[in-house]
Symmetry: D3
Subunit: 158 residues, 6 copies
């Protein structure tokens, strides 16, 4: 059995994130979405809210679970007996950051692999920070995020 | 059951290629190494020789097989009922080529996924073309390729 | 009146090229598509064939014309009294080549500007070389090129 | 008639910005410089000051106007009935950010185009943030900014 | 006699930094490590602490000295009668920043050269910010930093 | 005494190459320009011609010598007891190639260092291949190459 983990801030969850989960869930026996708590003040949504978003948007995937975590990704991956870390790549700038991170994670834990998906064409320009920016200006982001997230963003900014 | 395919020219097989096979074989039920025939004149080794190299260097992997193919990667992947294509990324320049290819493959066949591994640190600078160049100058490439490949390169250039 | 020139090899014309013409034709008074002859042996279609493709695919644009040329782009641009050169950018690797070219063109002729469009999302992975490759394997490229080009490719490879 | 908009923070205006205005003003009937208000605390100069800088440095261009705006660029562009957004590219890192932005803007409003100029050689290394840094250390930036900006920077830091 | 300067924040000093000093000390008669004071609040260690780290980790190099500085790198380099500035490049993203900086430094002072080393393979993924992050989570960074730095990090976070 | 080697094809020598020699000659006791023979058929000028170009263009540098070589750069560097290899970086695409090469050279010979200069602003877009292209079309390249090279190009193409 192969267990994958998809770590991130997901502030908020976008269609791009859901797409990665969708594709991962077909390749691996179990996919754990790991929501990084991070500095609560610098996030728009609390870790709990972000986990809830993901749970409500992924109910149809039987082999997907969601959890929050604090600390280093590689530590939580180790504790969760994960085989592989999953990341999406949108562009070259993503690549260089992810490249370093993957090499360091590998240096710290040989047994956990990192693999990368390339974001689907329709989501290439989509980032959580851009979604936050649009929503903060009252622009509809319905086409970029799951329904549950759109609602939570509306509440936040109205 | 998840079937992965690792396509390429592999002219010749390097330790970097073996490393990707090693890592893939742990994540997927079966890994098919697919050696692209390509234009025989522009290759140093024939497709058969390249397939042999890979077979002899991967005997210890029970879930790995090797085949040659002609034509489009996505076509052979479809015929072989592959779930996922595997590629190694060494650097940013690799990334942009792979990025395009992955997007086009996805456009042609939604059901086949592409994922990327980042080359291990020790193999980052290793490419088949550089190995060919070194070998052509009579420089030992023993530390960069499997034993069987080193022998075949020696025969070729002596 | 602003005259734009869109230079390239266009071997063959793709939907990506047509898209750039479409967008340019809205911003500039006249758009000259300039098909570079180049080395006839290294091209799949002759310059005349490539110009014909473009003409037949752009009949609906009243302010677009097509011509072939030999030699330096900046020279033909100067002779045609062009104000601005147009190029499409698909990715970072395109960017660095275009960057150099734009700087040198500017060094040679201050009065001619270069501007860049970013390829539409649906055409991001589309390149003439990939279309040639697909067609050479007998794969349908109908969704990637204008009808007239699809026909000419079919004739070429059958 | 083609109306172009050149949006940005311009904190402060540099010779690089003036150069883009100069080149745009030759290609388009009207160029609107749109100064983004942004978070006033994170800017060195107020939006009004930045607009004034630009007005005083572009008096010789009869088809250039300056305005400030709040909110999304694409919204102000729509309201101002703009045909094309203009951006300068200095380097590869600029490119990836601009690439995303252009794709998202296009997704939100098909009728507004984005085009890119490559910064002139002499301004390649010039950025507003570097100018701020130099000025804050009391270093003369006279060769990097218009006269009026040099004066305002002097006042700010003395 | 050729005098080199290696400027940076070094917050904290990593094995990657020591490696650059080691390699520079073989090529140049004297190497001055220049620790930028920067904004004390945004640094983990004070400039004095960072200078001490470097001194204690480079005692075996007879032609290396350490100093702190405030202000522009190019100014301190001029005052110290330096011939060449030294920087390490880890990846493409480093490159673009360093590229701009080198061009501007050259514009301000023709007589001071900038040269670049490529980080050793084992340190490629190593950055001061990542070390700070690991240490803040209580993860051992002994293999990434000199002993004296490991001790100071331990003290800081316990 | 520090000996530097500047290896390359230099087909032909450009002002960009001369600039790197000029800058290197100030930092190192001796600079050996090493002209790679390469495949004579794929070069415009013979190795001897290219070496002559460089000699005639660098007579004023007392600590610069020119030689031709065949085989691997790292081998000739070793034989010439070189301390450091010098390369110029024009752009990001150069960087990734040079990055790999430097890492492999270092893997093969620890005692020889590689360092990089960033091309001067005025030469950023200048490459030997572009000079060949311009000259082949009869365009004057006098402002891009040393006088002696301009003459040899004229002879070649007239």
């Amino acid at each position: 059995m192969t267990v994958a983990m998809y770590p991130g801030r997901f502030d908020p969850v976008t269609n791009g994130h859901i797409d990665i989960v969708d594709r991962s869930s077909k390749l691996f026996d179990h996919v754990i979405i790991a929501v990084a708590k991070g500095n609560e003040e610098s996030n728009l949504f609390s870790a709990e809210e972000r986990a809830t978003m993901f749970k409500e948007s992924t109910t149809k995937y039987k082999n997907v679970s969601v959890q929050t975590f604090d600390g280093l990704t590689i530590d939580i991956a180790r504790k969760s007996k994960v085989d592989v870390l999953i990341r999406g790549l949108r562009a070259v700038t993503d690549f260089t950051t992810e490249f370093d991170m993957a090499l360091m994670n590998r240096d710290m834990e040989r047994k956990i692999e990192s693999i990368f998906f390339i974001t689907s064409l329709g989501n290439l320009f989509l980032s959580a920070s851009r979604v936050r920016e649009l929503a903060s200006y009252g622009v509809s982001v319905d086409q970029y995020v799951p329904k549950t997230v759109a609602k939570m963003l509306n509440k936040k900014f109205n």
